[in-house]
Amino acid sequence: MAKIMPLADAVGAFVKDGDTVAMEGFTHLIPHAAGHEIIRQGRMDLTLIRMTPDLIYDQLIGMGAARKLVFSWGGNPGVGSLHRFRDAVERGWPRPLEIEERAPADMASSYASGASGLPFAVLRAYAGTDIPKQNPNIRRITCPFTGEILAASLSIRPDVAVIHAQKADRKGNVLLWGIPGVQKEAVLAARRAIVTVEEIVDDLGVDPARNAVILPSWVISAVSPAPGGAAPSYAHGYYERDNSFYKKWDAIARDRDTFVAWMREHILETKGFDGFLKSQAETTHVAA
């Protein structure tokens, strides 16, 4: 059963140095608040997994929290490169970052096979590509029925999955809707799961028309209230994506000193996500 606890306590209890951590969210519901808390608590040597790493992984990598990244596409969507990610891969700053690249179809399938308790996923992919030469976790398998050569890809089974959702009830049952991404599979593939939520309510009030995904309390380790915790990404029905921040991030992350100063001011020296949002609002106000 999920425990409802402050985010700092949840990260303290369920994210350890050296863990394999999957923080998922597909443009929508990206767990920024939890990512910040992992940075504040100084976690190290993490293997980060995410289909589409963007700003929050740029921050984790830039602060030296990760030793490896498993991913399929890394970038600031619609804006450009992740500069901290590139700096780590290209110049080893602040520490070298190992990368394991997979196709997105592979990652989605490997989460699903991990959630299914299977050792690998089977997919029709990678014909003619160089990726399997770089990644020993992608191999060939022959279909026992037809003889077709298919790709076998090692299941993804993170130590911890971290996601953000709209609501939880007081038992820790979680509800999310809108674009559901791969969060359900990530949680079910992981040994432990932390879910931050916009709000905790008495009754989830499920509206089946909204493509609702429900994660029962007993598959989750901790539920932590974090209002606004997906910002600058969005939470359907709560707030919109802050596209201007994604554009602003390009300039912040391009330069090492600017990045470190920004992280110090807005994350290391603020308390919790409330503190971060407040310090952001103040900066924006001053800038305006």
Binding site: F26, T27, H28, M51, F71, S72, W73, G74, G75, P77, G78, V79, S81, F85, R86, V89, E90, R91, G92, I99, E101, R102, A103, P104, A105, D106, A108, S109, Y111, A112, L123, R124, A125, Y126, A127, G128, T129, D130, I131, Q134, G178, I179, P180, G181, V182, K184, E185, N211, V213, Y234, H236, E240, R241, N243, Y246
Partner: protein, 212 residues
């Protein structure tokens, strides 16, 4: 020709949109491919079904999305499904007829590189295969990849995320903005990137950089 009043990207967008038909079911990548697909939807192909990797099927955005997971796509979609489902049932299952995606490099054989610039072991620029590698070779769509800059056209792609574009499908093709390679005919790049020349004319130029 003197100064043009449109950009190469705009020209590619228009040309790409013309490849789409009314009855198509199209898997759409962000950026230029998304602009082209929506241009088709708003002009000559109003019934086209646009599918984004975020699981939004039949999206009809009023504003172009900055990311493939924008709320605008979910709000206007016929239905919204999970990411494993989009890959397994819809792409691998063969429910999509055509894909419109971006790429970093395309070579003269239509091999595609979406990640590696430079030699992989020499610590290179990284983006990752994105939607391309898994599904393009795998499912049925014809593919249109659109390198957005002249330097994206290479004699030999540095790293093959996708093998050659599938031959079946008359509309399979690659669009580029260089004078050589996939030039679609009459238009010319407005700006010329000299860095693209060495790799185009000298297949060894790429590997020589290893020793830099």
């Amino acid at each position: 020709m003197s100064q043009l009043d449109y950009t190469t990207d705009e020209m590619m967008t228009v040309e790409a949109s013309r490849q789409l038909k009314h009855e198509d079911v199209c898997f759409v990548g962000i950026g230029l491919p998304s602009a082209a697909a929506n241009l088709a939807r708003l002009t000559h192909a109003p019934e086209i079904v646009l599918i984004y990797e975020s699981g939004t099927i039949g999206a009809e955005p009023d504003v172009l999305p900055l990311s493939i997971g924008d709320g605008e796509l979910a709000d206007t979609a016929l239905t919204v499904i999970s990411v494993p489902e989009i890959f397994r049932y819809w792409l691998q299952g063969g429910r999509v007829e055509i894909g419109f995606l971006g790429a970093a490099q395309i070579d003269r054989y239509a091999n595609i590189n979406t990640t590696v610039v430079g030699v992989r072991k020499s610590k290179s620029a990284v983006a990752g295969s994105g939607r391309s590698a898994g599904n393009c070779g795998a499912s049925r769509p014809s593919l249109h990849h659109t390198p957005s800059e002249p330097k994206g056209l290479r004699r030999q792609a540095r790293f093959h995320h996708i093998g050659r574009l599938p031959r079946r499908g008359r509309r399979t093709g690659a669009f580029g903005s260089s004078r050589s390679g996939a030039d679609k005919g009459h238009h010319r790049p407005r700006r010329h990137d000299p860095r693209s020349d060495d790799a185009r004319t000298d297949p060894d130029a790429a590997s020589s950089r290893r020793h830099r």
